[in-house]
């Protein structure tokens, strides 16, 4: 915050150098229509070239540009799905100049403007790297949250759900993992402002990370991305790695997601209301004989256990979801070109578990105004409030799911619903308040010189609270934990662009800029136990209460230079370099430099190119970016502690004064094509990513006294793969049409070198040269189905310690499928499927159960052999030779070993199927109305070797981790929603 006066000073200086609105101005009004249909085009961007003047067309396709300096001007019109249209006219002072523009279709959108990964605004044709774009106007299924909006939208963008808990976030990976020790969540920007991308802290009472009691919560992680209302989003740009993210510097190696929210248009207010009503329903898992692993009985349940805990009841419900959204956008046709967009959303979503509920409220205000002729201000603010109630779950001895799964061998020693229900006599709540506000000043003193200054602030306040009241079955005297966390990010960003026309065929855009990101996380927690009696306590009512505090600030700041050379508007070469400093770097490190170079070639603009073939752009990029170490990694530390009332110190980390960021170099080559009159579009990319100076948690020698692993820049790892996306318009009649599409994404990671460090386990995975990073390492059973002793000798893919490396824990192959069927009367039916394969997952829930002698469905065949007198019988060791090799390892409790519980996590899911019906005719006085019915994740196929579970149920700190470990959770439910959207 100490730098804030500097930014304010800059803004004031800028205001001084801006000049007032020109005296000699006129207006430009007109209509934008589609050339083929003559239908008005809504939301088209209409701008005056070389100025800040611009608006979006309204619902009737009309626009009005005010205060346009008199004289010859170029009007540019761009809309999604159309080619750029330019119009030259002479603006007369104090007059309204009428015009009309017709747009012709374009699939590649080579003249659309992108900003992510570029220094300023850049046209798609100039960009040498792939940019995935998600345009809300083209999304058929109304997304429930941002995770869902991103899921299965682009090759290389992998969004994995992590459990079925209310509020659960998704793990997002762009081209796999770049780091084995640092977060692999991409960084997120909203309207140019850096916002929190790491998952919220898990509600994990009591409060001490280092304590194994810290599993008493619901054991999942909420994602800050889901604070954003998807209905507010206009479009999203995703750059997947260092080839494109160089200008974001030290923290961008895992890619960047930039969200652009909606802005007002021109003219009268455009009101929009939307409601979604639906149910979430858990799809079957477990086995036929033990469906849902006892959470729901076979056949019809007698009722809900939490309401009436009787035999035959169900712990899971069909959960009702409701959502209401309203927005208004428009503009005031005055001298300032004021535009606004206001929205509000209210959601109330029950979860399928008894105590699960999510209540959300969010509101947004986006405003744009021309302060001066050459100064434009965009200011966006959103506030979101989320209240979550959860059911204790996961690997939680006092949780519902674990105890239901384990039945009579659970921590209540009974499968009796009444006894298990006593565990729900607790509250587990999370409240999150989020405010994101910030603005961008665009200052264009000259047509060839523009400046953009952005300042933003993102603050989230989280409260985690867990009350196990006096009389609670597993803590009779009561426990209360309350944790308050404040996360904040302050962004200051400047970019200046100079456009130079060196010759009629050669142009250049030189950019210079800088950025400062200050992240803070302040956390206090209070813990109390032993209350005097029943009632609703506060922590200080307890006989024993404790406090805990942590504060963490990380500052990253840097500057960059970039130049784009443009030849004949079809050859483009970009070079740039960014220099970064970071508070987590070692003292001796200084600034880090990240260069980049990229090129693109619009070959279809060559005279020799047959127009009938279509548009083709070739591209290539090479860039570097990084990932910073943790705030304390450079310093040799001691950990303050207590011992029976006295203060003490224990050794912390040995420290590494030379520590710096890990550096990721990424190269990519590709092409974008729209062929056969735009009936086929193709995007193909090959990428190779190499992380050097990789930050590995190097284990210390225990006998040297420091137990914590120390991050060090050693070794390297790589990722290689391809991304293909193809769409074909199979039928394109007036009344109906059929579009088919598919994507292919591959990713093969490899640890190349550990810099002399010995192979190590980290976070549930194994890191050893020659194998994928965070590999699934365990014991293979070569003869699982043979009636024989287990053959567990590793004969191939063996680690240096003789374990078997099953493979990576992140998918190596993702296949996407999509279909859109356009029917008469504007009805459409669309569907999207996704297959993920090649990865392995550890079934921790089965291991935990079997190693505790829980009667587990995977041993249904073995139990009559082992316990011929029934389950109360003692284990007949003499019968073991009748078991298969796998049964001998799993069903004889003393033989169980977590290392044998690795399974393939291949799956296919029907991510959504949506029927969209225009119903404007049925509602009076609306300009449009759409009814859509969507079923998400309703159908799925899971590799039968996984046997019981769904691979998208890992929970815990899954957003940030690389390992996949099934815990005592539930899979994400299917959601069926009926959505009505009306626009006035």
């Amino acid at each position: 915050m100490t730098r804030l006066p500097l930014y304010v000073g800059f803004a004031l200086g800028l205001a001084v150098t801006a000049y007032p609105l020109a005296a000699q101005t006129g207006s430009v009004e007109g209509t934008v229509t589609a050339a083929a249909t003559r239908e008005p085009v809504v939301g088209a961007e209409v701008t005056i070239a070389g100025s800040n003047i611009g608006v979006r067309t309204g619902s009737d396709g009309r626009f009005a540009l005010r205060n346009v300096p008199a004289g010859p001007r170029e009007v540019r019109v761009l809309a999604i799905g159309y080619r750029l249209a330019t119009l030259r006219l002479t603006v007369s002072a104090d007059q309204v100049n009428q015009t009309s523009v017709q747009l012709t279709p374009s699939v590649l959108q080579l003249d659309a403007v992108v900003v992510t990964g570029t220094a300023g605004l850049a046209r798609v044709r100039e960009v040498g790297n792939s940019i995935a774009q998600v345009n809300l106007s083209q999304v058929k299924d109304p997304p429930a949250n941002m995770d869902q909006l991103l899921q299965a939208r682009a090759p290389g963008l992998n969004v994995m759900q992590t459990s079925g808990m209310a509020g659960e976030g998704a793990q997002i990976r762009l081209r796999g993992a770049v780091s084995v020790s640092q977060s692999n969540q991409p960084i997120v920007y909203i309207d140019g402002i850096r916002v929190r991308s790491e998952g919220y802290r898990r509600n994990r009472p009591p409060f001490d990370d280092s304590n194994s009691n810290a599993f008493r919560g619901a054991n999942y992680q909420a994602s800050p991305l889901n604070d954003i209302n998807p209905a507010d989003v206009d479009h999203i740009e995703v750059i997947k790695g260092s080839a494109a993210s160089t200008l974001y510097g030290t923290e961008a190696a895992a890619g960047v997601i930039q969200i652009f929210t909606k802005h007002g248009g021109t003219g009268a207010p455009r009101w929009s209301f939307e409601t979604g009503q639906g149910i979430a329903q858990l799809r079957p898992f477990g086995t036929d004989s033990v469906p849902y692993l006892n959470l729901r009985p076979a056949g019809s349940p007698t009722g809900l256990c939490h309401e009436n805990p009787a035999a035959g009841c169900s712990w899971i419900r069909n959960a009702y979801r409701q959502r209401y959204t309203g927005s208004v956008g428009g503009g005031i046709s005055g001298s300032r070109g004021f535009q606004y967009f206001l929205s509000g959303t209210r959601e109330d979503n029950d979860g399928v578990l008894p105590l699960d509920n999510e209540k959300k409220f969010s509101t947004r205000g986006n405003f744009s105004v021309n302060l001066f002729d050459n100064v434009r201000l965009d200011w966006n603010t959103t506030y979101a409030n989320t209240d979550l109630s959860n059911t204790p779950s996961g690997n939680n001895a006092q949780g519902l799911v674990l105890n239901v799964y384990r039945q009579e061998q659970n921590y209540r020693h009974s499968g009796d619903p009444k006894l298990i229900d006593s565990l729900l006599n607790q509250t587990l709540t999370t409240g999150i308040e989020r405010l994101i506000t910030g603005g961008t000043v665009t200052y264009t003193p000259l047509s060839w010189f523009s400046n953009r200054f952005t300042i933003g602030y993102d603050q989230a306040n989280q409260e985690n609270r867990n009350l196990r009241p006096f009389g609670f079955v597993a803590a009779p005297q009561g426990i209360l934990v309350d944790e308050q966390i404040r996360y904040s990010i302050l962004t200051a960003d400047y970019v200046g662009n100079v456009d130079l026309h060196l010759s009629p065929a050669l142009a250049s855009t030189f950019s210079v800029g800088g950025q400062s990101i200050t992240s803070d996380e302040v956390r206090t927690a209070a813990y109390g136990e032993i209350f005097p009696g029943p009632g609703l306590p506060v922590v200080s009512n307890a006989a024993l209460f404790l406090a805990n505090e942590s504060r963490l600030r990380v500052v990253n700041a840097g500057f960059f230079f970039q130049d784009v050379m443009k030849f004949r508007d079809r050859y483009f070469l970009t070079g740039g370099i960014r220099f970064d400093g970071n508070s987590a770097f070692g003292k001796s490190l200084g600034l880090q430099a990240y260069p980049k170079i990229s090129g693109s070639y619009v070959i279809s603009d060559e005279p020799f190119w047959p127009a009938s073939v279509g548009e083709v752009k070739l591209r290539g990029a090479l860039g570097w970016s990084g990932r910073a170490p943790g705030a304390f990694d450079a310093v040799r530390t001691q950990i303050p502690c207590t011992s029976a009332g006295l203060s003490c110190f224990l050794p912390g980390s040995v420290g590494n004064p030379d520590i710096g960021p890990e550096r990721t170099r990424e190269a990519e080559l590709g092409l974008d094509a729209a062929l056969l009159k735009n009936r086929i579009t193709l995007e193909a990319t090959w990428y190779h990513r190499l992380t050097t100076d990789a930050l590995f948690s190097v284990r210390q020698i225990p006998s040297d006294g420091y137990l914590r692993s120390q991050l060090a820049n050693v070794g390297s790892l790589s990722n290689t793969g391809i991304e293909l996306a193809a769409n074909a318009t199979v039928v394109n009649q007036v009344d109906w049409g059929l579009e088919l599409g598919g994507t292919v994404y591959t990713n093969h990671g490899l640890v190349r070198d550990l810099g002399g460090a010995v192979p190590f386990a980290a976070g549930g995975g194994w890191v050893e040269p020659g194998f994928p990073p965070m590999a699934a390492r365990g014991i293979i059973i070569n003869n699982p189905n043979d009636i024989a002793a287990p053959d567990t000798v590793c004969r191939s893919s063996c680690s240096s310690h003789g374990f078997h490396i099953f493979g990576p824990q992140q998918p190596t192959l993702i296949l996407g499928q999509q279909l859109t069927l356009r029917l008469p009367k504007g009805i459409t039916l669309s569907a999207r499927g996704e297959y993920q394969g090649g990865a392995w997952i550890q079934d921790g829930a089965s291991f935990n159960a079997l190693s505790r002698s829980v009667r587990w469905p995977t041993c249904a065949r073995a139990y009559p052999i082992l316990y011929p007198g029934g389950l109360a019988d003692s284990l007949h060791t003499g019968s073991i030779p009748q078991l298969t090799a796998r049964e001998r390892k799993e069903c004889v409790p003393v033989n169980t070993n977590v290392d044998t519980f690795w399974f393939p996590q291949d799956f296919w899911k029907l991510r959504d199927v949506t029927l969209t019906i225009p119903v404007g005719w049925a509602i009076r006085r609306v300009s449009s109305a759409t009814l859509s019915i969507t079923a998400q994740n309703y159908l799925k196929w899971i590799n039968p070797d996984l046997r019981l579970f769904d691979p998208e149920m890992v929970g815990r700190d899954a957003l940030n981790s690389q390992n996949r470990d099934i815990s005592e959770h539930i899979p994400p439910p299917a959601v069926i929603t009926v959505n009505l959207r009306v626009v006035f």
Binding site: L6, Y7, G9, F10, T17, D208, S210, N211, S212, N213, Y411, H413, Y443, P445, A474, Y494, G514, Q515, L546, E549, R553, V555, N556, A557, F559, S583, A631, V635, R636, T637, Q638, I639, P640, T642, A644, G645, L646, S647, C648, F649, L650, G652, S653, R699, P702, S703, D704, G705, L707, V758, H801, S851, R852, S853, V854, S874, L875, P893, V894, T896
Partner: protein, 453 residues
């Protein structure tokens, strides 16, 4: 362009990325005198964590060595707060031992590093008589004793001339006893030089003397010293003297781990059902081996017993803050008894044992028993006196290795939950399969230390 340059200049000015975050303490801060007491308390905390606290860095030396030596039986959980199946089977391999190895080595490192730091930053005149230095030596002694009595081998880093450490190599576990002997000797010297005679200093002196007596008994057992050295120290420790390692109810990470694993905070992971102590306490009501009958079962089925077993937890540690005894005068009497037995004097040995039994109003042993029987009595008395104090594994190792006369009481006295209580064990330390007599050097040491294959 001027605006651009101004903006960049402003941003560069704003590029001060230096941040000092609170929380963790830079190591150099501990050189200041105000930090010295906390360094010594850290040594105590590290030892408590190694022997068994609920802290994440805590080991389970007490818990798992008790499980291997049948001081407790498993009652359910094998994961959190539970007894892994290999430990239930008496196996303490390098993978299982890693956490214990790490925390035990930190318990040794912290006081030894404190001594090195004090030597560097304290005035020489203070170093030789500082109670803080004395305590650091004291905890270094107990930490080394714990390592020697628990682990199969030693790895001790080498100190370079500049004070830094180089990775050590595998050596005999008895090196820890020698190191402990030196530490206790230094502690005695410093405490004595302090010139203080208050109760606290007197207790420190007795603790150091008792600690040295115990490691000298260890050394004598391994043929590395005379028993007379042990008894000379033991004789100077009064019967009721004791030195305790505290735990605390103030926060969960300082809880006594063994107690917390049986505190029914969902976990009921160990029981006295089926142990020698079940029958012993039933018969004698000897308060040293007290356990509770709860009417409950353990928290999960136990494979080796074919189902759930009664949850009859030990009652020696009845609270989260229950301390663990590191040394006592009563142990000294048993050292004197063992020394007498090695000298062939059964009657003198029984006399020493009977001092404690008389104190507890227990029936006295017959001082005319044979030497073999006297050894059996000694083994039983040490089992009961030092029950659940992380000492049994070391005792069994030195006795079994050296074929000391007399029988052992350690074993399981019930085979299943429906079995009756046997008079002799149906499973012992050596049959049907030999159980571990020490923790292996941790796999984490083998995987990180180039000198340890």
């Amino acid at each position: 362009m001027r605006t651009s340059l101004t903006a960049v200049a402003l941003l560069l000015t704003a590029c001060d990325t230096s941040v000092t975050n609170p929380g963790l303490t830079p190591d150099g801060t501990l050189d200041k005198p105000e930090a010295w007491p906390a360094i010594v308390v850290g040594a105590r905390r590290a030892l408590a964590d190694a022997i068994g606290s609920a802290s994440a860095t805590g080991g389970q030396l007490l818990y798992w060595s008790a499980a291997v030596t049948f001081e407790i039986n498993p009652a359910g959980s094998t994961g959190s707060f539970g007894i892994p199946t290999d430990v239930q089977a008496g196996i303490l391999n390098d993978a299982t031992s890693s956490a214990d190895w790490a925390s035990s080595n930190q318990a040794r490192f912290v006081p030894e590093d404190a001594v090195r730091r004090f030597k560097r930053v304290m005035p020489d005149t203070l170093f030789g008589k500082s109670l803080l230095v004395g305590q650091a030596y004291l905890y270094a002694g107990f930490a080394n004793r714990t390592l020697g009595e628990s682990f199969c081998q030693s790895v001790i880093p080498l100190q370079n001339p500049d004070g830094s450490l180089s990775p050590g190599s595998l050596g005999s576990h008895t090196l820890y006893f020698l190191r402990a002997d030196t530490a206790f000797t230094n502690a005695l010297a410093v405490f004595t030089a302090s010139g203080k005679t208050d109760t606290q200093t007197t207790n420190f002196i007795r603790a150091a003397r008792a600690g040295r007596a115990s490691v000298r008994a260890d050394l004598a057992s391994w043929g590395l010293g005379p028993w007379s050295d042990a008894t000379a120290d033991a004789a100077l420790v009064p019967d009721t003297s004791k030195f305790l390692l505290p735990y605390a109810a103030a926060s969960p990470d300082q809880y006594n781990y063994l107690y917390w694993a049986r505190a029914n905070q969902s976990f009921r992971a160990h029981t006295e059902w089926g142990t020698f102590y079940e029958g012993y306490y039933r018969t004698t009501k000897d308060a040293r081996a007290k356990w509770d009958s709860t009417g409950m079962s353990g928290d999960a089925a136990v494979a080796k017993f074919g189902g759930s077993v009664p949850f009859w937890p030990e009652a020696k540690y009845a609270t989260t803050a229950a301390p663990v005894r590191l040394s006592s005068g009563w142990e000294m009497r048993l050292i004197e008894a063992e020394a007498a037995l090695t000298g062939g004097n059964a009657a003198a040995a029984v006399d020493s044992m009977n001092r404690r039994r008389a104190n507890l109003s227990l029936p006295l042993y017959d001082r005319t028993v044979s030497l073999d029987s006297a050894w059996t009595l000694l083994k039983t008395e040490r089992a009961v006196e030092l029950w659940l104090e992380t000492r049994r594994l070391g005792d069994l190792r030195r006795w079994i290795t050296h074929n000391v006369p007399g029988a052992y009481i350690d074993g399981t006295y019930r085979g299943s939950s429906t079995d009756f209580l046997h008079a002799t064990p149906i499973e012992t330390m050596t049959a049907p399969a030999a159980r571990a007599l020490c923790f292996a050097v941790g796999r984490n040491e083998r995987e990180t230390n180039p000198n340890v294959p």
